[in-house]
């Protein structure tokens, strides 16, 4: 499969009163056609900001300070965030679904209007055609009596239903890439399963690629083909899902797998928490950010700048000195 999106050394910073927050600190990743990848990390690791950067939805005091985002042979960062080029890509070729279905839908517009707006704007459809398409999309994502529900407002829908609408909106212009930022975190367990399964089917049907941004290792184990693990604004490990889970190499990844309770665990399994806290991203040192919490640290980690990702065979990359 050919590469659809390639991000190189992307860096996004926020200038705050306390100092510069390097929310995304030089990450590189790629996404192939019709691929599902997972971007995993805890809150504040920069996973959402990296995706908002791809969409160029970073607002002041945030700023994309470096890197390239190559999509269909063009570097998206050469375009103005509000310019016509980005506007024709954002929502059309690259679409995003957010965590909070309540706040990401406009409460004063009907569901129908919110769906048809994108269609009319991006695809130049007529009112009737966009209405037909909106009904079709709502049916696809499993909303019963779609025709009547077009006139409803977001508050008429349950959380799960709203997220279905969001998915329908995301898919409305046949995007090449769908970015789902914690798409099911706010929802109930069985609804989560329904939606993730539906989203996977939809992405297959639309021949799109999917980026799942999540803190849930189970979700990526179930759906993603490849995974990127993020910590403190950097990608610390990358590889196929099976490689990452079968032989995790970065101490943070190893720590994550040891500290989560598993549904299938045997009686008496002890969780091994990762000591300490994620670092404050203001004025970060240039050494590896995980050092203070790391069980495998050496002198070298405290002296040298954080190690770049190194190829460990197959598609497995890790940024850690302990694997030398």
């Amino acid at each position: 499969m050919s590469t659809l999106l390639e991000v190189k050394n992307l860096a996004t910073q926020f200038n705050t009163e306390g100092g510069v927050v390097k929310a995304v600190d030089g990450i590189s990743y790629h996404l192939d056609e019709q691929e599902i990848i997972g971007l995993v990390g805890e809150s504040g690791c920069g996973k959402s900001v990296s995706q908002l950067s791809v969409m160029q939805l970073i607002s002041s005091p945030g700023r994309i300070v470096g890197g390239e985002i190559i999509f269909e042979g063009q570097n998206l960062l050469q375009f103005e965030a509000n310019g016509p080029e980005m506007r024709s890509i954002r929502g059309a070729k690259i679409a995003m679904i957010f965590q909070e279905p309540m706040t990401s839908l406009n409460p004063v517009l009907t569901i129908g209007r919110q769906l048809t707006e994108t269609l009319e704007l991006h695809l130049g459809m007529s009112q009737e055609a966009s209405r037909e398409r909106a009904i079709e999309l709502l049916r696809l994502v499993g909303i019963p009596s779609a025709e009547e529900r077009l006139e409803d407002y977001p508050h008429h829908f349950s959380g799960g239903m709203r997220q279905r609408v969001m998915i329908a909106m995301g898919l409305s212009c046949n995007p090449k890439i769908l970015i789902a930022d914690e798409p099911t975190t706010a929802l109930d367990v069985t609804t989560q399963a329904q939606l993730l399964e539906m989203m996977k089917d939809m992405v297959e049907q639309f021949r799109a690629s999917l980026v799942i941004v999540t803190h849930n290792l189970g979700v990526v184990a179930r759906y993603a083909q490849r995974i990127y693990i993020m910590y403190a604004g950097r990608i610390v490990e990358a590889g196929t899902t099976k490689d990452i889970f079968a032989k995790p190499l970065h101490p943070y990844t190893i720590g994550l797998l040891k500290c989560i309770p598993r549904l299938d665990e045997e009686e008496g399994r002890k969780l091994v928490p990762i000591d300490g806290l994620p670092p404050n991203l203001i004025n970060m040192p240039s050494t590896c950010a995980f050092v203070p919490r790391c069980a495998y640290k050496s002198e070298r980690c405290l002296q040298e700048p954080w190690p770049p990702l190194r190829h460990m065979g197959n598609q497995h990359y890790v940024g850690c000195f302990s694997n030398d």
Partner: protein, 329 residues
């Protein structure tokens, strides 16, 4: 009426909590939201019982009824052998000394203008369990150490602590009056994964250290509940549909809802996920205002037959400590 056994700290029988719905100018009662509709379970001394279910299934309401924050519509709750639903108002405070609560959100459950030390020490004052200022200070510092916080931090305010540390403050506050039962209402769901484990382990260590401490662990995350609980009760629309030990819950779940709930939780292992059975339920949880007739799960159930809509299936004894409310089992 048979009295509960001594080794049961909590014995709940046919608990019902209906919230009336009023409509119209005259505020006429039009219906009841049956948040809890006939829940029965027992909790042993030193045991952890997990209460799982999706939002609106009534798990939090059960916890609040035990604390007498709600006056249940019907049923009985025996705590340490005493029927706590029919006791005098003054004694309720006594019960709340012995039953503590840990909340979900460590950000909104701590008063931002109160120092950490005074948050932890407040129950000591309210219940007058200390006699002098020095005893108070000693106890607060002891509680800080017990939950792994440095006592020198007791003059700081909640915003100076991280989420995990805040939850430790919440745990210390719950432990202040040496309760025999702690109701943990989603205590780790607001925390990051690497911090969750710290709090889960802390709760486990406290139970080992303080003999006889029992937990009622209310959560929606089945893997967390299984990890920490000895037994698990699965709730759906105000009723317990299955109750068993946490090993059997994973290895031999019998109620179709339990099976669907388990299969909805992805396991962090792509090799297991490849071959796992996936039961994707149709529709959503119905409103407790107007639950379906018979077994309230039958409209979404993949094993439902005509009989299922006729009568509410009672919990039946299936095996050692294993009870299921389903006629198809």
């Amino acid at each position: 009426m048979n009295r509960p056994l001594d080794d049961h700290i909590l014995d709940i029988r046919d608990l019902k909590m209906y919230f009336p719905v009023y409509r119209g100018l005259l505020r006429k009662k039009v219906a009841d939201v049956k948040a809890v509709d006939g829940v029965t379970f027992k909790l042993m001394k030193g045991e952890t019982l997990g209460l799982v279910g999706e939002s609106g299934c009534g798990k939090t309401t059960v916890g609040r009824c035990i604390l007498r924050l709600y006056q249940p519509t019907d049923g009985q709750i025996f705590f340490e052998g005493e029927d706590i639903l029919h006791i005098a108002e003054q004694t309720v405070r006594e019960i709340r000394r012995k039953i503590a609560l840990i909340f979900q959100d460590p950000y909104s459950s701590l008063d931002p203008r109160q120092s950490a030390g005074s948050i932890v020490g407040e129950p000591l004052k309210i219940h007058q369990v200390v006699n002098s200022q020095s005893e108070y200070t000693d106890r607060v510092e002891e509680l800080f150490r017990l939950v792994g916080l440095d006592p020198s931090m007791k003059d700081r305010f909640p915003h100076e602590f991280s989420g995990g540390q805040r939850q430790r403050i919440g745990v210390a506050r719950a432990l202040a009056c040496e309760p025999s039962l702690i109701i943990c209402d989603e205590p780790v769901s607001a925390l990051d994964v690497s911090i969750q484990a710290q709090v889960i382990n802390l709760l486990g260590e406290l139970q080992e250290g303080l003999k006889g401490l029992s937990y009622l662990f209310i959560a929606h995350d089945l893997s967390v509940v299984r990890h920490i609980s000895d037994r698990v009760a699965v709730m759906y629309l105000g009723r317990v549909v299955e109750i068993t030990d946490s090993q059997t819950l994973y290895k031999n779940p019998l109620h179709p809802y339990t099976r669907a709930l388990l299969s909805a939780v992805p396991i962090a292992d792509p090799f297991i996920e490849e071959t796992r059975e996936r039961i994707i339920l149709k529709g959503e949880v119905p409103s407790p205002l107007n639950p379906p007739p018979g077994c309230s799960f039958h409209p979404r159930c993949f094993q439902a037959i005509g009989e299922c809509s006729k009568a509410i299936p009672p919990l039946r004894h299936i095996g050692e400590g294993h009870e299921v409310a389903c006629i198809r089992v």
